[in-house]
C-alpha cells in the first residue's frame, strides 16, 4: 500500500530487508483489515437495504411479494392516514429531542467543566445503564410509574400529588421513557464538545466584561455547535423510528410511524408497503441531515466572516 512509503514511519518500515514479497503480504493484511468492516456493512446494511428498495416497488399480496415495478406502495405510504402519523411522529421526535437537550446540556456542561476529578466517574455512570437490556430498563419504568408504584408513593409522600398517578399508559410516561432512553446519546457528544472549549476563551470573555449569560450565548454555545448538532441527530433520528417505548409505557395509544412500519411487516403481512414506508422515513431523515449540516456550514462561514 502506498501509505507505507508516504509517511516517515512507513519509510522506516520499508527498509531494504522488506522485499516486494513482504510488502505484498503487508498490503494484503491491510486490505483484509479494511475488508472486514466493509463486508459486515455490505452484508448487514447494504443487502437488507437493497431488499427494502426492491420490495418498495413490488406488488404485495398477503404474506407474499411479487417483484415488479409500481409506485402504488409509495402512493399509499404518502396518503392520508400514513402522512398524518408521519407528521405526528416528527412532532413527537422534535418534542422528545427538545426535552432531552434541555436536560442533557446542563448535565454535560457540569460533567465536562465543573466536575473536576469526578469527570470520568460521571461519564462512567452515564454508561452504566447500557450494560442492561434496553427492554428491561423500559419495563423498570413501567413498574416505577405504575398506579400504586414507587413514583406515586414518593409524590404523594411529598404532597406534590394526591391520589392515583395517571402517568402510565399516557404520553407523559412515553416522554419520561424516551428522555431516559436517549439522554446518554445526547450527553456524550455534548460532553466532548464542552470539554474541548479552551478555558482561556471563557476567561477572555469574562475579562472583557461579558456576563455569564453572554459568555454562554456568544462563546460556549457556538463553540459547542458541532457537538449540539451531533446530539440532536443522534437523538432525533432513532426517536422517529421508536416503537418500543410507546408500546410499553404508552399503552399503545397514539400510533407512531415506527410501529406502523412494523405492523406492515408483521400484522398486515404487506412487506411492499412496509418497505415503501421505511424508504419514506429514510429519505426524509437523510434530507434532514443534509439540510442541518448545510445550515451548520453556512453559520460557520458567516461567523468566520464576522
Amino acid at each position: 500500500m502506498s501509505t507505507e512509503v508516504s509517511t516517515p514511519a512507513g519509510r522506516v518500515l520499508a527498509r531494504p530487508a522488506a522485499g516486494p514479497l513482504r510488502r505484498l503480504v503487508a498490503g494484503l493484511a491491510g486490505r483484509l483489515v479494511a475488508a472486514t468492516p466493509l463486508t459486515w456493512l455490505v452484508l448487514f446494511f447494504a443487502v437488507p437495504l437493497g431488499y427494502v428498495v426492491v420490495f418498495s416497488f413490488a406488488y404485495a399480496t398477503f404474506g407474499r411479494v411479487t417483484l415488479g415495478f409500481t409506485l402504488e406502495n409509495y402512493q399509499e405510504a404518502l396518503s392520508g392516514f400514513y402522512v398524518t402519523i408521519f407528521a405526528r411522529t416528527v412532532r413527537f421526535a422534535v418534542q422528545g429531542t427538545v426535552l432531552v437537550m434541555l436536560i442533557a446540556m446542563p448535565v454535560a456542561y457540569f460533567a465536562a467543566r465543573k466536575a473536576g476529578r469526578f469527570k470520568t466517574f460521571l461519564l462512567l455512570l452515564l454508561m452504566v445503564p447500557f450494560w442492561t437490556s434496553f427492554l428491561i430498563r423500559v419495563l423498570a419504568w413501567k413498574t416505577l410509574l405504575e398506579v400504586g408504584g414507587p413514583v406515586e408513593d414518593v409524590l404523594n409522600g411529598l404532597h406534590l400529588h394526591s391520589g392515583q398517578l395517571g402517568w402510565i399508559d399516557s404520553p407523559t410516561a412515553v416522554f419520561i421513557g424516551v428522555v431516559y432512553a436517549y439522554l446518554p446519546m445526547a450527553v456524550i457528544p455534548l460532553f466532548v464538545a464542552f470539554e474541548r472549549i479552551p478555558a482561556p476563551m471563557l476567561e477572555a470573555s469574562k475579562d472583557l466584561g461579558a456576563s455569564r449569560w453572554r459568555t454562554l450565548w456568544h462563546v460556549t454555545l457556538p463553540q459547542a455547535r458541532p457537538g449540539i448538532g451531533a446530539a440532536v441527530l443522534l437523538v432525533m433520528i432513532p426517536m422517529s423510528g421508536e416503537l418500543v417505548v410507546p408500546a410499553l409505557l404508552g399503552g399503545d395509544r397514539g400510533v407512531l410511524y415506527g410501529s406502523l412500519i412494523q405492523g406492515q411487516f408483521i400484522q398486515s403481512a404487506n412487506q411492499a408497503l412496509g418497505s415503501a414506508m421505511a424508504m419514506v422515513l429514510l429519505v426524509v431523515v437523510a434530507l434532514a441531515i443534509a439540510v442541518s449540516s448545510g445550515v451548520g456550514r453556512l453559520l460557520a462561514r458567516r461567523e468566520a466572516r464576522a
Binding site: 404474506g63 398506579v147 400504586g148
Partner: protein
Amino acid sequence: MTNPDRQPRERLDDLLARRPVTRGGFLAGAGLGLAAFLAACGGDSSSGGSAGSSSTAAGPPTTGPAEPFWSQGGELNIYSWPDYFKPEHLKYWEKKTGGKIRVSSYENNEAMFAKLNSAAGAQYDLALPTTGWVPIMAELGIIQELDQSRIPFQHLDPELLGQEFDPSNKYSIPKTFGTSCIVYREELTGPIETWDDYIAVLQKNPGKVSIPEGGKGLLAVGMAHLGYKRNSTNIKEFEEAADYLIKEVAPKAAKFGGTFDTDDIRSGKVIAMTTDSSVARKMLIEDGELSFGLLKPESEIWVDNYVIPKGAKNVEQAYSFLSYLLQPDVQVEETNFHGYASAVVDIADKVDKSFKHPEVVFPTKEQFEYLVPTTVDQEIEGKIQELGEKVKASAA
C-alpha cells in the same frame, strides 16, 4: 365436575345444530362437529377453500398408533405460545428419546406467521397457529402434509377434528382451545353481559377500562355494538366499526391490549379488562372478588393446532413427541398445568377435582352458542389491521 352444562360432547353437538352454514354443500360433505361451528374459518375469499376443497370428504382418521413411539436422539425445535407445555412432559420425552427440545415462543399469530413465512421458518419442527391461520399457511406452502398414520387420532376429541379449514386434518392437529373474555370488578362496574354493557362501563369510567390490542379483536368491539358479525367480509362494516370506536370508545379507553397485565386490575388502575381464558382463571384464583365474563352477542373462541413447517429438519422427533403428548393422561395433565382445555374427549370431566374455576376454561352450552372463531381473510386482513391502527392512533 358433574355440572351437566359442561359436557363437552353435548355442547359441541349443539353447536353443530345452530351455526349458520356459509358454505352449505361443502359442509354437508364434511359434516363434522365443530366444522359447522367454525364455518366462517374458511368462509371468505379463497383462503380456506384451497386447503379444504382439495381434500376428499373422507374426514380425519379415527385411529392411530396406540402407544407412543420414541425417536432416537436428535433435537426438536418447537415454536409455541409462552408456557404452553408442562416442563415435566418435555423432560420425560427427552429422557425416553435422548433428544433435546428447544422451545421458542411468540405472543401473536402474526409474528409466528411472519417468522415461518421467512427463511428463518426452516429452523422449527412444530408450530401452533390458531384456527384461521392454518389454511393460509397451507395455501402458501409454509406447512407440510402430516403423515396421519403416525398420529393417535383415537385420543382426540372428534368434535375438534375435521373442521372446515382442514376437513381431514391433513395439515393440523388440535392442541387446545380457549376464549377471549373479560375480567372485571363487579362492585365498581355492575354486571357486564354484553359488549354494549362493557362500552357503557368504559364510557362512564374514562381511563379505567382496557380494550383489545388491535386488528379484528379490537374492531369486533365496534362490530358487536353495530350489530355486525365479527367475521364479516364486508370491509365497509369494519370501517363503520372503526369510526364508532374512534368517536365513542378509543378516547376513553385505558389502553389497548394488556392481556397479560394482571397488575392493572390488582392496583386499581383498571376496573375491567379484556384478556384470555387462562389468564382470567389465574386472576380469579388470586383474587376471589373478580368476575369473569364472555360477552354477547359474540365472543372469540380459538383453537391452537400443531403443524409441521415445510422445512422442518426433525420430522421424526416431531411425530414421536406428538404420539406421546396426545396420550389422554398427558393431555389432562397439560390442562391442569396451563389451564387451557386440551383437545381430548370429555376434558372437563377428566381434569383434577381441584381444578379451580373450571367455568372460565370450559364454557357452558349456553356460552358456546355465541362463541365464534376468528378468521383471516387475506383480501381484507391488511385493511382491517390498518383500521385497527387508525383507532389506536386516534387515542393519542
